[in-house]
């Protein structure tokens, strides 16, 4: 181990852990080093503490979550009534759509990411052009190639449906007759509140990781050896854990992985470079008048301090690997069909395709067939078996008399009525 000039962070209990582990030999367990054990521990625990959509005063609010759930599946939000959020984020497909590139009113340029655990992300969209779930929800609603709506259409959709209007009043404490821009933002915050409830369950990896933490060799040995070997590659020679770090298996930032980023001949997707431009131009970012936390320097820190750099061109978000086996195809434009294709890409990486400024993280791994299979086995163990079984909660009938008084609608940290997740997993 290289000498440590100053130890800033360490995973608790690693010394005791490795000692306990050394005493517990099992033929179905790899002989993991203290370093490996420590790195594995950093990918948990799961689930993490609850996260709320930033700048969204109704995040976590029961009435807003119910409104958001209803709107998520309501195609009337689109200008021609043909698509809803769920068109590209289908619960039975782990809130993705299984297409390489999604299809809106016309073919789109990017792959639809899963919405599981979205509340724990920092940036939204492959380019990170949105800094909150609610700001991200506005993009497809207004985008000409997607739902192609406008604020007036959204306001009218809410106001003309008695049940939606009732839910809106319950969530926001006023009738949807205000200015249409405000209604659009409220609708997006309700959708953000709903999406924020989507936290996937535990995985075989989580059981293994926690068994290691307890020093429970018998329980740990239930984790298949190919997955253990793949995990060793992941936290070792593969260097995958440098970007796919933490319980969510992402650092929430962006990288150029040497994938072609031509949208079509002669047209490139600039990725993060354009994403930062759009973020800073957005009238809905966390520094905008629509944010419920614009005066909170901590909440808006990322938006204020993000730094455009030359290397951002061609960078795309490092995706979470939770539920990755359920969300093929892969990469920002779905150009990799299978997990084996993903692993093969890193194994045979073409360094000439990397556009980073001399960045020296990615190198061809030159994996054998067996090693590739092990890495895929590990990646498959990161999925919650129930992540395609989510079904919406049956919403209670909205009674207009229970509308929230306006002064209670927007507390600084979210609605006063906290809620459990809006939907449920059907076993």
């Amino acid at each position: 181990m290289s000498p440590r000039r100053a130890l800033i962070a360490i995973v608790a209990g690693s010394v005791a852990l490795s000692a306990a582990w050394a005493a517990a030999r099992d033929p179905n367990l790899l002989d993991l080093s203290a370093d490996e054990l420590q790195r594995i521990q950093r990918h948990g625990p799961w689930p993490p503490p609850r996260a709320l959509d930033p700048g969204n005063a109704v995040a976590g609010d029961a009435a807003a979550i119910q409104l958001g759930q209803q709107l998520f599946f309501d195609a009337r939000l689109s200008i021609d009534g043909t698509m809803s959020c769920a068109t590209c984020h289908q619960p039975l497909l782990a809130f993705a759509d299984a297409r390489a590139r999604s299809r809106g009113r016309q073919d789109l340029d990017r792959n639809a990411p899963s919405l599981w655990n979205a509340a724990h992300e920092r940036w939204y969209g492959w380019d990170g052009a949105a800094d909150s779930l609610w700001a991200q929800a506005i993009r497809p609603i207004l985008h000409a190639h997607e739902m192609d709506a406008n604020p007036q259409h959204v306001r009218d959709t809410i106001a003309r449906d008695p049940e939606l209007a009732c839910r809106y009043r319950k969530a926001f404490g006023r009738v949807p007759e205000d200015d249409a821009d405000a209604v659009l933002v409220d609708v997006s915050k309700a959708i953000g509140a709903f999406v924020g409830t989507l936290v996937s369950g535990r995985t075989p990896f989580d059981a293994f990781r926690d068994a290691l933490a307890r020093g429970d060799a018998k329980a740990a040995a239930r984790y298949p050896l190919p997955a253990q070997r793949g995990l060793r590659l992941f936290v070792g020679r593969g260097n995958c854990h440098l970007c796919h770090v933490g319980p969510l298996f992402t650092n929430g930032e962006f990288g150029d992985t040497g994938l072609p980023f031509f949208v079509r001949p002669g047209v490139v997707d600039p990725g993060r470079q354009r994403g930062i431009e759009l973020l800073q131009l957005s009238e809905y970012n966390l520094l905008s008048r629509w944010s419920d936390a614009r005066d909170d320097a901590t909440v808006a820190m990322k938006t204020k301090q993000v730094m455009p750099q030359h290397r951002n061109f061609g960078e795309f978000k490092v995706p979470s690997l939770r539920n990755v086996a359920l969300t093929a195809p892969y990469a920002h434009d779905g150009q990799l069909a299978t997990l084996d294709d993903v692993v093969r890409h890193y194994s045979e990486l073409n360094l000439e395709r990397l556009h980073a400024d001399g960045e020296q993280i990615l190198k061809p791994l030159h994996l054998s067939d067996a090693e590739r299979a092990d890495l895929v086995a590990f990646l498959r163990s990161l999925s919650d078996p129930k992540a395609t079984l989510w079904q919406p909660s049956r919403l209670p009938i909205c009674k207009p008399g229970l509308a929230r008084p306006p002064e209670e609608a927007r507390s600084p940290l979210g609605g006063r009525e906290r809620s459990e997740p809006g939907g449920q997993i059907k076993p």
Partner: protein, 131 residues
Amino acid sequence: MALFAALGTGAHAADDCASALNAANALVAEADVSRVLFVARPAVVPVGRHFQIDFVVCNGNALRDDAKVQVDADMPAHRHGMNYRAAVSPLGGGVQRADGLMFHMPGTWRVIFDVMLDGRTLRLTRELEVQ
């Protein structure tokens, strides 16, 4: 005393420098007689989360509250820096705070203090192992 005289305005008495930061486990970046004493907040810096650095600039043992400082960080082995630009503001008593830093990968990071003092700029660095 000769040292203090040479430091010009902004210099405080000798012990002020270390005591101003009021931190038992301050880290040090130094070059020649200049030092930056600093602490991270939180002390255990998580990968992929924003954090702050509180620091003081010292010349010899004297606190220099007139120093203008830019704070940055990079990973020399990876040849990349941070994705965020730190904002420095005074906290009072010669202590300054760098806000908005983020180490987005585990590994060896180098914290960089560009200190502008007495008409010249001095770069002080300190490597940190982040896990």
